[in-house]
């Protein structure tokens, strides 16, 4: 019987890079994404015995990443509602930028970095819409694959995608104004 460590290594090798990129997209910063991925991998490793079909490893790992990410979001929400625990520097500074962590408040039409803009825009989406948008637009997954991953119907995924896209558009519109868009497209903005 193949040792557990070797089995996990064999399974994670082909999907490793894409899964890291996916975790980074879900978070507000690259460092947060790496942290999320590490926690997810640890959880996936401890639960590996529950995976019977090795061929289903990729959606299984993504599901673990999504689950860990949602747990983190929930914890963050509770920390905000009941601020009795440790208060990190970012919260004390009122959401200021720390080590490349972009927040909605940092977003401005002057933001030259497209990555910065996209991160700030994704941060305003609810978790389910953000996951659908990232998987479809960035990771290139098909709608039926996303539906299978989330265990929802195809129409539900389409609805999440449409709503997420609409929210992104509204957010951009609100932040840029109608005048800012052409200049950004043409690259005139600093």
């Amino acid at each position: 019987m193949e040792p557990r460590n070797e089995r996990f290594r064999r399974l994670i090798e082909p999907v490793h890079d894409k899964a890291v990129a996916f975790a980074r997209c879900l978070c507000r910063s690259r460092a947060d994404g790496d942290d999320l991925f590490q926690e997810s991998v640890l959880r996936a490793f401890t639960k590996l015995d529950g995976l019977r079909d090795d061929g289903a490893f990729r959606p299984w790992l993504y599901r673990v990443v999504i689950s860990v990410h949602r747990n983190r979001c929930r914890r963050e929400l509770w920390r905000r509602l009941i601020p009795f625990g440790e208060v990190d520097e970012a919260s004390e500074a009122g959401g200021a930028q720390i080590s490349g962590d972009y927040r909605v408040s940092d977003w401005s039409p002057d933001a030259a970095d497209a990555t910065q803009r996209a991160r700030a825009a994704l941060a305003v989406l609810p978790a389910v819409q953000r996951e659908a948008i990232v998987l479809f637009e960035i990771e290139g997954w098909q709608v039926d694959e996303i539906a299978a991953l989330h265990r929802v119907s195809i129409s539900a995924v389409k609805s999440r995608l449409a709503r997420g896209r609409e929210r992104l558009r509204v957010f951009y519109e609100k932040q840029l104004g109608t005048a800012g868009v052409p200049s950004l497209i043409s690259g005139d903005s600093p």
């Binding site: 040792p3 290594r9 997209c25 690259r30 401890t46 497209a114 996209a118 637009e137 960035i138 951009y172």
Partner: protein, 329 residues
């Protein structure tokens, strides 16, 4: 597609490209979770597989003692409920009967009676627990002295199985008879719940507690008898499980996690209806002495009994299953 949509798409693509830069290697990820360590167990619980036999015997001793204690305390509760039923039906409740020898039992409040029964049940639990531990130890000693073929672990398992049926039957019946008895006392007699229900003058247009209790005593007797029958059926199924190594479907159903919440829900509904109908022994206000129908009160007794049965059985069987899983039975 609008210009704004184009911008969103371009930005998302830029984010995707950015995230693919400076990726950690598989080796680094593996190291971060300790995947490269040779001493890592192949399964998280592998190190727990070889538990010394002495530890298992200690656990077995506790499980056995607790089962015997549950049976003893259940039997005590059942006897207490039967004694109270007989005393209340054929004896006191009337304040005028103070000259009878049991007046000390009926004169105090229901809180006193509850405390008294609770102390007796707790005492039985403690005493039975101590005796059962001694019995378990002695049985093990004898098995070693006589050099029996079956080892101490087999003997321990056999003792636990033997106590299983009694613990289930008496545990369930004891709690249920106690709850039904006191539930009826509180709801049927309790004009002032959880307080003195006897120290009142009921002669002037009020209902006699004795007549009310006599009216309901049939329900109590039937409910306790039904509980006993249900508990015996569950106990027999548990004992049969050891022989056939198969768990019946209805035991699995009662073990299910939803059984206890269902019982709690049923109890809440019964309590709500009971509180809204209860006029007590002292009729007050415009409702006068108008009582709910006998059928409705019987239905409340049945639903209350069923609710307690679900809760008690659910807890008992879940606990039993965990004990079995721990002992490897």
């Amino acid at each position: 597609m609008s210009t704004l949509d184009n911008l969103v798409t371009t930005d998302l693509a830029a984010l995707a490209n950015d995230n693919r830069r400076q990726l950690p290697t598989v080796d680094k990820t593996s190291r971060s979770i300790g995947l490269n360590r040779d001493d890592l167990p192949t399964r998280p619980d592998e190190s727990r597989e070889h538990v010394p036999g002495e530890l298992v015997l200690v656990s077995m001793s506790r499980v056995f003692a607790h089962r015997i204690a549950r049976a003893a305390s259940g039997a005590t509760a059942m006897v207490c409920a039967a004694v109270l039923l007989i005393v209340f039906k054929f004896g006191g409740l009337d304040y005028s009967e103070r000259d009878r020898w049991w007046h000390w039992l009926t004169e105090p409040s229901i809180v006193f009676l509850g405390t008294l029964v609770g102390v007796l049940v707790l005492g039985a639990h403690v005493v039975a627990n101590g005796i059962a531990e001694r019995v378990f130890e002695r049985s093990l000693h004898q098995s070693i002295d006589r050099d029996r073929v079956a080892g101490p672990l087999d003997l321990g398992k056999r003792l636990i199985r033997r106590a299983d049926g009694w613990a289930v039957v008496l545990g369930i019946t004891g709690v249920m008879s106690f709850m039904i008895m006191f539930g009826v006392l509180v709801f049927v007699l309790g004009g002032e719940r959880w307080s003195l229900f006897l120290d009142r003058d009921y002669r002037f247009g009020m209902i006699s507690p004795k007549s009310v209790f006599t009216d309901r005593s049939r329900d109590i007797a039937i409910a306790i008898a039904l509980c006993l029958a249900a508990a015996i059926a569950i106990g027999r199924a548990c004992v049969a499980e050891h022989r056939s190594h198969r768990r019946s479907w209805w035991i699995r159903l009662l073990e299910h996690g939803t059984t206890v919440p269902t019982g709690v829900l049923l109890a809440l509904v019964t309590l709500t209806i009971g509180f809204s109908l209860d006029v007590g022994t002292i009729a007050q206000g415009s409702r006068g002495n108008v009582w709910p129908s006998s059928e409705l009160r019987s239905a409340l007794t049945v639903s209350g009994g069923a609710a307690v049965l679900l809760v008690v059985t659910g807890f008992t069987l879940i606990r039993r299953r965990r004990e079995h899983e721990r002992m490897g039975l």
